[in-house]
């Protein structure tokens, strides 16, 4: 397995974190969070990937054929479900922030605190 998928995962992690640090909009920030999450997908899937292997469904292929690791795919799916919940929750909170305070800018939310 080549090192490139791991570099991509690290790059996505860095990009996502940079985006969160500099974000001026909560929705943009949530999307940056999903970029960080994408790094976990890439890492998990590349861990279980085998060159030239088949999908881990044993219908129609010989039981001796090489398949990619189904466990990491299950982990990735679980991860997707878990994080969909987080994103939904975040967006719900952001919606409330926008409705009541008319802003989706983290800085302006905080400044209301100081004024």
């Amino acid at each position: 397995m080549s090192v490139y998928p791991y570099l991509v995962a690290a790059w996505l992690l860095g990009c996502g974190l940079y985006g969160i640090v500099t974000s001026r909009n909560y929705i943009h920030l949530t999307i940056c969070l999903t970029v960080v999450q994408a790094s976990t997908y890439v890492l998990l899937l590349s861990v279980g990937y085998v060159n030239g292997a088949q999908a881990p469904i044993y219908a129609g292929i010989s039981e001796r054929s090489v398949v990619v690791d189904p466990i990491v795919q299950a982990l990735t799916l679980t991860d997707v479900v878990v994080e969909a919940t987080v994103v939904a929750l975040l967006l719900a909170l952001i919606l409330q922030a926008n409705k009541r305070y008319g802003t989706t800018d983290p800085d302006r939310m905080t400044r209301m605190h100081d004024e």
């Binding site: 974000s23 976990t40 982990l75 878990v82 919940t85 983290p106 800085d107 209301m112 605190h113």
Partner: protein, 604 residues
């Protein structure tokens, strides 16, 4: 008997699902009753579990997927005394929290109760799980429930902001945890803690293992909120509903450390055991930094719940110090301290909730002297403050003296004075708040906190009297904090439990070979003379600091200059708590980098 372990997670989840469907047709009281009874059932089950487990380790394989040919193919719950004990404690706190929310708390049923039950299931499951990925899922389950509960009062700006910060920072923590899990899996092909430990015992430490451990530990330390990952905690705990605060401060933060201990003392210890010294120095260093930071920030805080949130951070630091000693004695002391102090902090939060109910405020400067007539609440608050300051011979004293002894035993003689100082700072902050709010002495620290401006009362009941359902849990919590210390033999039980917790070989053998691995009951040494000195000193120092804070400016000749200098020194620290999520994430990234760099030392 071991079926009780999965049931104590499944039943709250099932009841939560049923309540979601049917709860809207039931009156509030019925929903409260069902939720409380479920938590009570959970408490009974976990209590039975811990009595049954004793000092052993009970393994339950889901779906009957037992170990085959020495390889763990299934998913397990591995229930040891510490995990079961923590689960019991959490269930008890949940029962008290649900009881205290039955009268007057302004929440919409059944959603509040459903969230509380999923929160309970996540936390209990996290304590019992023996599988790395399941730990991640349960970790996320409890984080998501907690975020929803923190941001519950969506009409308040502070609650929204606290909830958002909490959600984003903890989700990043969750991702780091998951990245670590992926790397461990790539190295070992296993997710079961014992299986990972078995593999790493043979393959040893390398770069991938080290990075994986750094990521997993960072994720869990973010949840535990140690410096510099702690910023979200004060924002979140200050705005949560009081019953939720009992759980957050009493148990959730500690779960991050429990997870770190569980994973280290099963999966990673075999690979990293040669570097115990380096790891100990790193963990104790971070722990002490956190404990002092939390204590100092608590002293400058005006908002009562924020003050208690910083006290929570300070104690997380002490717990990390105890756990980070990586010895059975240190773990035993931490276990006792977590329990005793969890009761103490929950008690203080319950008192803050009662003050909020009666007076509608939480800012010390606005409450100045206004709580004079609330004598019983005042007495409870004062007792909580003294317990926090490690007044001998009660629970927190016992835990702290055990940690101190363990530190001295491994040659860390500088630890006891520093954690005594941290206790003194926290105690002083709480005692000064007591003097200000209940007696009207002195001035509040700093200017009135803005969070208080838009804090609305969370209760709808009559504000002329304190409902019994709020008072009784507080008294139970006080009894718990005192009882842990005066219950003869509890320290020995904790010592035995900690020996089991840190016995990696026993864990691997019990899970993978299904053979029992009995351990001899351990005896704890009684507190040494210097423990009495340090803890007594901490209590005296707490009273002295509080008195200096109350009267220093008026009566001490250099009081004004001293307090001005102190606030000038602390101002930059305070400013770091900007409430801005970008700053917090930057600190987090930096912290993970430094932490990973320090761990890289183990490769040298």
């Amino acid at each position: 008997m071991s079926q009780l372990a999965p049931l104590s997670v499944a039943i709250p989840l099932l009841v939560a699902a049923l309540l979601t469907c049917a709860g809207a047709f039931l009156p509030r009281l019925a929903v409260d009753l069902i939720a409380t009874l479920t938590a009570l059932a959970c408490f009974a089950m976990t209590l039975t579990l811990i009595i049954h487990v004793g000092s052993g380790l009970e393994v339950y394989w889901f779906g009957g997927w037992h170990v085959t040919h020495g390889v763990a193919v299934g998913i397990d719950f591995a229930v040891g005394p510490i995990g079961a004990g923590l689960a019991t404690f959490i269930s008890l706190l949940m029962v008290l929290a649900l009881i205290s929310s039955t009268r007057g708390l302004d929440v919409k049923h059944p959603y509040y109760q459903v969230l509380m039950l999923t929160f309970l299931a996540g936390m209990v499951g996290f304590c019992l799980s023996g599988d790395l990925f399941n730990m991640f899922v349960l970790f996320e389950l409890m984080s998501i429930s907690a975020v929803a509960l923190v941001g519950y009062k969506v009409h308040e700006r502070a609650a929204l902001e606290g909830g958002l910060n909490f959600a984003v920072i903890n989700t990043i923590g969750g991702f780091l945890f998951l990245l670590g899990i992926g790397l461990v899996y790539s190295r070992t092909g296993a997710l079961n803690l014992a299986q990972i430990g078995h593999y790493l015992a043979h393959s040893g430490n390398d770069r991938v293992v080290m990075v994986a451990f750094a990521l997993i530990a960072s994720g869990l330390l973010i949840k535990a909120a140690v410096v510099p990952f702690h910023f979200w905690l004060a924002d979140a705990y200050a705005v949560a509903l009081t019953p939720v605060c009992l759980l957050l401060a009493g148990a959730m933060s500690e779960l991050g450390l429990y997870g770190l201990g569980r994973i280290y003392f099963s999966a990673f210890e075999p690979a990293l055991s040669g570097h115990t010294g380096t790891l100990r120095a790193i963990f104790v260093g971070i722990g002490l930094l956190t404990s002092l930071w939390g204590g100092l920030m608590a002293l400058t805080e005006d908002h009562l719940k924020r003050l208690l949130a910083f006290v929570t951070i300070a104690f997380i630091g002490v717990f990390l110090t105890g756990l980070g000693l990586l010895s059975p004695d240190g773990v035993a002391g931490t276990a006792v301290y977590v329990l005793a102090d969890g009761f103490g902090k929950a008690l203080l939060f319950a008192c803050a909730g009662m003050i909020q109910h009666r007076l509608g405020r939480l800012s010390q400067s606005r409450l100045h002297g206004r709580a004079r007539s609330l004598r019983l609440i005042g007495a409870l608050f004062l007792a909580g403050g003294l317990l926090i300051a490690a007044l001998p011979p009660f629970g927190p004293f016992l835990g702290k003296s055990m940690i101190e002894d363990a530190a001295v035993k491994v040659g860390y003689g500088f630890v006891p004075p520093l954690i005594a100082l941290s206790s003194a700072l926290c105690g002083a902050a709480v005692l000064r708040a007591y003097a200000c709010v209940f007696l009207g002495w002195g001035e509040a620290p700093g200017r009135a906190d803005q969070t208080d401006e838009d804090t609305e009362p969370e209760t709808t009941d009559s504000h002329d009297r304190t409902p019994l359902v709020q008072l009784i849990p507080a008294i139970v919590l006080l009894a718990g904090a005192i009882g842990v210390g005066v219950w003869f033999g509890f320290a020995d039980l904790a010592e035995t439990a900690a020996t089991r917790f840190t016995d990696v070989h026993g864990y691997l053998v019990t899970v993978l070979a299904a053979s029992g691995h009995p351990i001899p009951p351990a005896a704890s040494s009684s507190p040494a003379w210097y423990d009495w000195l340090y803890c007594g000193g901490a209590t005296v120092a707490a009273v002295a600091f509080a008195a200096a804070g109350v009267w220093g400016r008026r009566y001490l000749p250099w009081g004004c200059r001293l307090t001005d200098a102190a606030s000038r020194v602390l101002a930059p620290l305070r400013r770091t708590h900007s409430g801005q999520i970008g700053d917090y994430t930057a600190a987090l990234t930096l912290g993970v980098g430094v932490f990973g760099g320090l761990l890289a030392l183990t490769l040298l």
